[in-house]
Amino acid sequence: MEIENKISGSVNIILVNGRIDARNSSLLDDELKALIEGGSVNIIVNMEGVDYISSSGLRVLLAALKKVKPSGGDIKLSGLKPFVGDVFRISGFDSIFDICGSDKEALLNFE
């Protein structure tokens, strides 16, 4: 898994590539924790390059969401591949995360 970080205004965009599974979900966890501890609450996780996400990955995203919600922030997801979208649907996580087609759409939803 590779993680890239960019900033658009007050929103942080994290680009994730590869699989998010039990083996490496802690990398994403560290990245999100560092951002949130640094004061960022509006985060887009771009998952265009993600082929697979396991329940460990969902947990990391949920933990981050629970941290930013109280301060009015949000974690939005963009560019989910069909399989990844299915994981969110099956787990019901599609109803707690704002799932957007693109970063652009996610940025608009933040405004």
Binding site: R19, D21, A22, R23, Y52, S54, S55, S56, L58, R59, V60, L61, L62, A63, A64, L65, K66, R89, I90, S91, G92, F93, S95, I96
Partner: protein, 453 residues
């Protein structure tokens, strides 16, 4: 020629003695104690004697180079003071100084004073460096400065001045060089020891961390194992088999059976997100709350909703559990279920080859409070099979990151549909094992196979 050879041998002998002495002293437990700053009168005395002896040897073993005296008397007090503190430095300086003074000669006063001062200054530098030790550079520079100082007081204290100049001009360079080389050897050895010590400390820390991680894994796996039902429930007209194969980093899968008052049996399969002890503890919590809720409420919907509220209240770090709860009435063959974000179990009717997926009816437990859960209903009759599983099966990967997947799972079930649940479960785990052979099992594998007889 013979003179040069014997000079070379003398010098070589001097250096060899310094090296042997340095190795011997630095490897002694007294010196180790000094490096750890654990001083007592015993190790101080021994070290004073050691370095004092080196100082005396520095005088007696001195050689003449082209008519210039060359000795390393100051080396002992310098090294002693620099690495073992002022007591050892000054003590060794006094021993070397007194012995030199007793020998007499025109330079006996400045030479013996310089040796005592070597110990004093080295001790002062030791105090200045506080919790650090002098590196090779500092030690060598110190030796050069100290020998220069030695030459300076020789000029000041020896009269007549012509004699003093004569001695110093011949002795200065070889003395400075010889002591610097001696100091280089000694400080180099000490620094090697310090590096070795640090590496060993780091290695010890690392291996204790590994031991702790291993212990944590064992604890997690024991917790998980202790909380799984020890025997299968007896359901008239049905055969049931459940198994769990924990991953190395236990994932917190569990299954459970609950006997309901009306003769029905509740069947739970669940997968806690996360790994290790936290996941194992969350598994215990979820299983207990689910068990209590199932014993308390009558409707499947209420059981799951109430368990969700209790689990959500306890989940702080984003942990959640996907769970499939079904209640089987063995008389009617009716199964009512609620699927909280769990991967859908497969129902294979005896009448066909098509699998029916028992799809989610709500979100994983522990995510949001007061969430509503729907229910589904199926009826099973003789020969029908339900395979409940966790994603450790479908998501087991081979060397090319290719998942075992639902299609392979369906194939194995179809090929073994007439076997007993235990045999079917065995075939499934076997082919998952074949698929991911050589790869580490990264997730727990849990399976329940239910068959209507």
């Amino acid at each position: 020629m013979a003179g040069e050879l014997s000079l070379f041998l003398d010098l070589f002998g001097l250096i060899a003695v310094i090296v042997v002495f340095s190795i011997f002293v630095t490897r002694s437990h007294w010196f180790t104690e000094a490096l750890e700053r654990r001083f007592n009168w015993k190790n101080r005395t021994v070290l004073i004697l050691f370095f004092g002896l080196l100082s005396v040897y520095g005088t007696l073993g001195g050689v003449e180079v082209l008519g210039a005296p060359l000795n390393v008397r100051d080396l002992g007090p310098m090294a002693g003071g620099l690495f073992c503190g002022p007591y050892v430095g000054i003590g060794a300086g006094i021993i070397g100084g007194v012995q030199r003074y007793a020998m007499g000669g025109p330079t006996c006063l400045p030479c013996s004073l310089a040796t005592v001062f070597s110990g004093i200054f080295a001790g002062m530098l030791y105090i200045l460096l506080k919790d650090r030790f002098a590196g090779v550079k500092i030690a060598v520079v110190f030796a050069v400065l100290m020998e220069s100082f030695h030459m300076l007081i020789t000029i000041l204290l020896v009269s007549p001045p012509e004699v003093a100049y004569g001695i110093v001009s011949r002795a200065a360079l070889p003395m400075i060089l010889a002591n610097a080389i001696g100091m280089f050897i000694f400080s180099y050895l000490v620094n090697n020891i310090l590096i070795e010590k640090k590496t060993k400390e780091e290695r010890d820390l690392y291996s204790s961390e590994i031991a702790r991680n291993r212990a944590e894994l064992d604890i997690a796996s024991e917790i998980q194992n202790d909380f799984l039902p020890k025997k299968m429930p007896d359901i008239p007209g049905f055969d049931l088999y459940a198994m769990n194969s924990p991953a190395k980093e236990v994932g917190g899968d569990f299954y459970d059976f609950i006997g309901c008052a009306d003769g029905s049996t509740g069947i739970v399969i669940a997968d806690v997100s996360g790994k290790g002890v936290p996941a194992a503890l969350f598994m215990v919590l979820s299983k207990t709350l689910m068990h209590a809720s199932a014993g308390w409420h009558r409707s499947v919907k209420q059981v799951v909703e109430s368990a969700n509220n209790m689990i959500t209240g306890e989940s702080e770090s984003g942990m959640f559990v996907t769970l499939f709860y079904s209640v089987l009435n063995p008389v009617s063959g009716r199964i009512v279920y609620s699927n909280a974000g769990h991967c859908p179990p497969f129902l294979l009717k005896s009448s066909g080859d098509e699998f029916m997926r028992l799809n989610p009816t709500g979100m994983a437990l522990g995510v949001i409070e007061d969430n509503e859960y729907g229910t589904g209903e199926v009826t099973v009759s003789s020969g029908d099979l339900i395979v409940y599983f966790t994603d450790g099966i479908t998501e087991a990967v081979n060397g090319d990151d290719e998942e075992f997947g639902e299609e392979r799972l369906k194939e194995v079930i179809l090929n073994n549909r007439y076997e007993t649940p235990e045999r079917i479960a065995g075939s499934i785990t076997e082919s998952v094992g074949d698929h991911s052979s050589g790869e580490m099992q990264f997730d727990d594998i849990t399976l329940i196979v239910l068959k209507a007889l």
